[in-house]
Symmetry: C2
Subunit: 490 residues, 2 copies
């Protein structure tokens, strides 16, 4: 069934499509091995793990895939990789890769997170399990397999490629602006019609999504304790002393309490909503359309919740999902965190938070407002550390990148929703914002799950005809490149 699909006349534009598909099938085992090898080498910026080895590996992956040049771009953090492939085509396409992965705790996994074990996933097919499988090594490896297959079939690519791959996406792209500021990188990107990140967007029923942008994300930590004021002890001390000594955990609670309203979710930072653009009628229309592809009960079950915020209906909750900037607590840690209690007064309290930003908010604006808000309320003993982040991105529906996606989905009969934006984040703003001002999007037909969670997976062989496994996902990238070339020529 899978092979039939891959051979189907999905995109009439792709020349010698059968030959390329046969090449994809022939190199399949090699591609799976390459994905497993890549999963075995995690780069985790937060833990300073796999750096700089991950960048060297990424560079080699690009060269192996046919990029004519690839080089390491040093930053103040984890290095990036910049590579180009000149096919002599009139159109140049930008590609963004992240080669880092999220932290993981092997104890929470059913198979070793770095093994990339192939396991039958009931009702879905054969999947590869491992950290980075879907976020983002699986889709990226499928893209590399696509350009290899075109070349191995004796063809030139229909577009030239400019690849930038960063190793700090999971720590909110702390130094990515330094990469695109390198004159050579910036000049190469400026020649592209836009930049896309390979992704796995299919639902279990085979439907897909086109996203017209993404929220921005800014991660920061608030710390109070002996290190920020001599009101607090430097280590945990006996709790009887709270009668005469301030507790940094209370101070943290008081500071946090000012950041959202009493409802526990509406941001209350001074001036927070000033630059938030409301949804347009077209965006609301897209949301209502998209809701039909994702039944509410299915969404709630997947998220493990029974109710949306304020007991709102599904459409309202979706409008909120795509339109609202958030102030989220990722984690709290202070004093004793084991089972039961322990009579200590903590020497330190930390809250890990993140903003999700929507157009036309910027990272600098959000951080500035947070600091002013805390300063105005006298929280000078609350230390703010911004560990990374970037603003939102937004791309027009009639850009080449999006037109090519629509056409591909329409011609192959993939049901899809157009989302006004992704409620998650990726640093498209680096391309989308000044000075490049390029379209930026996500694209990929394939399926996976468990990003940022245990048992992350990416579908290799699908048992559902409408859902793409590795080979079909690879062919979708082949078709996309040809469709982009044709749309750009219009």
């Amino acid at each position: 069934m899978a092979l039939v699909l891959a051979a189907a006349p999905a995109a009439a534009e792709t020349p010698e499509r059968d030959k390329i598909a046969a090449t994809v099938a022939a190199q399949r085992d090699t591609t799976i091995k390459a994905l497993r090898d890549w999963i075995a080498l995690p780069t985790i910026a937060a833990e300073k793990r796999g750096t700089p080895e991950g960048a060297e590996y990424m560079k080699q992956l690009a060269l192996d895939a046919g990029f004519q040049q690839a080089r390491i771009i040093p930053t103040d953090g984890v290095p990036a990789v910049f590579a180009t492939l000149d096919a002599g085509a009139p159109t140049t396409l930008g590609i963004y890769f992240m080669y880092d992965v999220k932290q993981f705790d092997p104890a929470e996994w059913d198979s070793p997170p770095l093994e990339g074990r192939l396991v039958e996933r009931p009702g879905e097919g054969l999947a590869i399990y491992g950290r980075g499988a879907v976020n983002q090594k699986g889709p990226e490896m499928a893209f590399l397999a696509a350009i290899k297959a075109i070349q191995a079939s004796g063809r030139k690519l229909p577009v030239n490629l400019v690849l930038v791959a960063e190793g700090e996406e999971e720590v909110a792209s702390t130094h990515f602006d330094q990469v695109v500021a390198v004159p050579e990188v910036q000049a190469a990107l400026a020649k592209t019609i836009g930049v896309f990140i390979p992704s796995a967007a299919q639902s279990k029923d085979g439907s897909a999504n086109i996203t017209l942008g993404a929220k921005g994300a800014v991660e920061f930590q608030l710390v109070v304790g002996g290190e920020t004021s001599d009101k607090y002890p430097k280590t945990d001390i006996h709790s009887s002393n709270h009668a005469r000594i301030e507790n940094p955990a209370w101070r943290l609670v008081k500071a946090l309490d000012t950041l959202v309203a009493d409802d526990g979710h509406t941001p209350a930072i001074d001036g927070w909503f000033e630059n938030v653009r409301p949804l347009t009628p077209r965006q609301k229309e897209l949301i209502a359309e998209g809701a039909k592809l994702n039944p509410e009960a299915q969404e709630k079950a997947a998220l493990g919740i029974g109710r949306w915020i304020d007991d709102e209906d599904y459409i309202t909750s979706l409008e909120r999902f795509y339109s609202q900037p958030t102030v989220n607590i990722q984690g709290l840690v202070a004093g004793y965190t084991g089972p039961g209690g322990k009579t200590v007064l903590p020497g330190r309290a930390e809250a890990k938070l993140e903003f999700r930003l929507v157009p036309a908010m910027t990272k600098a604006e959000a951080v500035g407002k947070l600091k002013a808000h805390l300063a105005k309320r006298g929280f000078d003993d609350v230390q703010v550390t911004v560990s990374g982040g970037y603003g939102p991105n937004e791309t027009e529906e009639d850009s080449v990148l999006i037109r090519a996606q629509k056409r591909l989905f329409d011609e192959t009969g993939i049901p899809y929703a157009i989302r006004p934006r992704n409620a998650g984040s990726w640093p498209g703003v680096i391309f989308n914002g000044p000075p490049l001002n390029l379209p930026a999007s996500q694209f990929g037909l394939s399926r996976g799950g468990g990003a940022h969670a245990p048992n992350e997976w990416f579908l290799i062989e699908s048992s559902e005809p409408k859902v793409y496994g590795l080979d079909q996902a690879t062919m979708a990238y082949v078709d996309y490149l040809y469709t982009v070339a044709e749309e750009a020529a219009k």
Copy 2:
């Protein structure tokens, strides 16, 4: 120097004191070995470690020390031990032991926490390092050594003894009321003139304390998450969802925020101060006197802080220390707690808190007020778990227990402060409250530190003449028993 002190005419009342002191010295190595063996077997109720072995061991320690009967008293939690020693004396004294110890993390210790290593402590002398060394196995072992030495010297004890030893002191004596409710135990205790717990109360300069009671302590945890409401996810999920799904960490912050005033320390639970008795003039006098023995700079340095609450002066901070009931955050834990950030919406948030209660507050009152306070504000999704606790205790200055301490200190020239109460807690209320209504106190001349912290220690051989090592501490218990017998006869 140490031996000279031990042989000094510290308490003229003790018959054949030199002979007993010689016995103490002769059994010294045995006592140290017994203490090390006891440290090697930790009972930690919070971790269900060393139960019920710890109770069996405690029972055997009592029998070895000359108690004629000792038996395990089962409870719904960790079992207790009840033992009696009938010396045919007119006076019976109650002894309270805790045989459990605080949790520990070996990585934070300079020597293995269960080794009981003997290490020279600069400026203090030879000390034994181990979990439970001072809290409370060291002082308790010295007491057992004292009664052994009297008997080994061919004498009967000057008082009969009733011992109750519990294994859940560090989890706020969760089931201790069940122990004293056992008719045989209650009847035995009812015959005592009061109950004391052996302790190590000497400062570095040799000064000591008499405490006329202690605050109560109630430990509880607040939990919010998928387990308490279907508004929240059951596990950590991708943080982009906070735009449409409630975050239990915010809800916890909102609930916590109502528990103390904006100053970050004054309890704000409805009706909290209703039964709080203000300090009496005598209590204030005692605090001012006691302050002279503990210079402010020394206290601040030991606690690692530069300022008291509200920048108060020392005496005010001490009055607060002894008189104010507190609502303390022991710990916070939610979502991601590792380095940096992680884009999750937590499925669970927990705050670990504790009350310290002063007369005439009770545990039932405090817990009832907390629950009413949260219910009134609609926090029905915040789960309150009371993991243990008890009310405050208070003993008159003219009770036999306290008179005997004063006389002993006066006669041996030990400088001492009388504290209106201990700002820390011990479950004396079990004896002090109804139905027993007995005096309850702490007594012991020896020195140690690091309770509830790494590198807990207890002094074995003191390099400072005024500070008691193990032998002198043991002799102080010998003298105390004879002094109690004499005071009771008055």
